[in-house]
Symmetry: C2
Amino acid sequence: MEYRGQLFVLSGPSGAGKSTLRERIRKRVSELWYSVSCTTRAPRAGEIDGEDYSFVSMDAFLAMVKARGFLEWAQVHGHYYGTPREQVVSSLENGRDVLLEIDVQGARQVKIHLPQACFIFVLPPDVATLKKRLRRRGTEDDSGMKIRLDRATREMAEAPWYDYLVINDDLERASEELAAVIRANRCRAAAVLPRVLDLVRPPPLS
Amino acid sequence: MEYRGQLFVLSGPSGAGKSTLRERIRKRVSELWYSVSCTTRAPRAGEIDGEDYSFVSMDAFLAMVKARGFLEWAQVHGHYYGTPREQVVSSLENGRDVLLEIDVQGARQVKIHLPQACFIFVLPPDVATLKKRLRRRGTEDDSGMKIRLDRATREMAEAPWYDYLVINDDLERASEELAAVIRANRCRAAAVLPRVLDLVRPPPLS
């Protein structure tokens, strides 16, 4: 089904900087609706319920899975994350563009159900930077770190099927690139034509 | 043939504001090479030979057509315009992105020979604005004006096959959109993958 709004899926491995990029893009791009994911993990310092995530219990999460209430959901490092379907679909139907920031498993599910979405993959500049970012985040010992790194490596192998790749070496440049991808997609012929039919109508055959 | 650089083709009817947009984009987007077209028409006030156009004689132009020296060429309102092939192709081969600002006939010829190029169509906001811009430019009487308007109408009917449509109602916004299209195309997976092969290589089967 073709919606009036466009869906942008921002994904990539943990440690690539997806959330920070999403925050930046809020300020740069207007008229973009941000879907708030549900998660069973505890809030990190500074995270606000209903804004960064909806923090829910495991029971509430599983009930929503059973009711097919998620557009996509995934388990990442022992915690569950999911995108409530209804708000996304009704926004797109009403012509609003939507940005999802989700993990790679979730992006695959969206690709199956909404293949016309625009898929953007955020990459760290190199493996050394990725390791540093994962270490800063994790509280684990070396084996925990190895699990995170192995997972990120498998996740990065998904990059080739995405529409756009953004290398997050410089946050300012990366967020400019992400903004450009969204703006450019809004200029695609398929998106603009409905507004200019009077101009581009073929002249009568003579 | 796939080149290392990307070709951007900026086209649209006379009076849409292509040249002004091209000027603006020079300042906004780096590492973009501008092809200078040849023309048999006389320079307008302020135009510089070798920068805005290469102003050539009809004989020189026709000799170059005969030698297949043009990537595209067209006759518009009695004057000839053409894009020298060699510089464009060698820039693309060397990995430089190239911007062509050409008329709609020329864009069709490029579409045949280089279908992988990115085609961007500039539209006036409405017919009234187009008329005003054509009137300002032309020195003709009413019948000359009708010819220009009929031509622009036929040209605008080509818009649907382009990749992107930019409505030039506000020059600042239009040039931002054009810049976004170029930046976004530089982030396409096909363009970025060669630089990140080490990151996205699939892990060994286990």
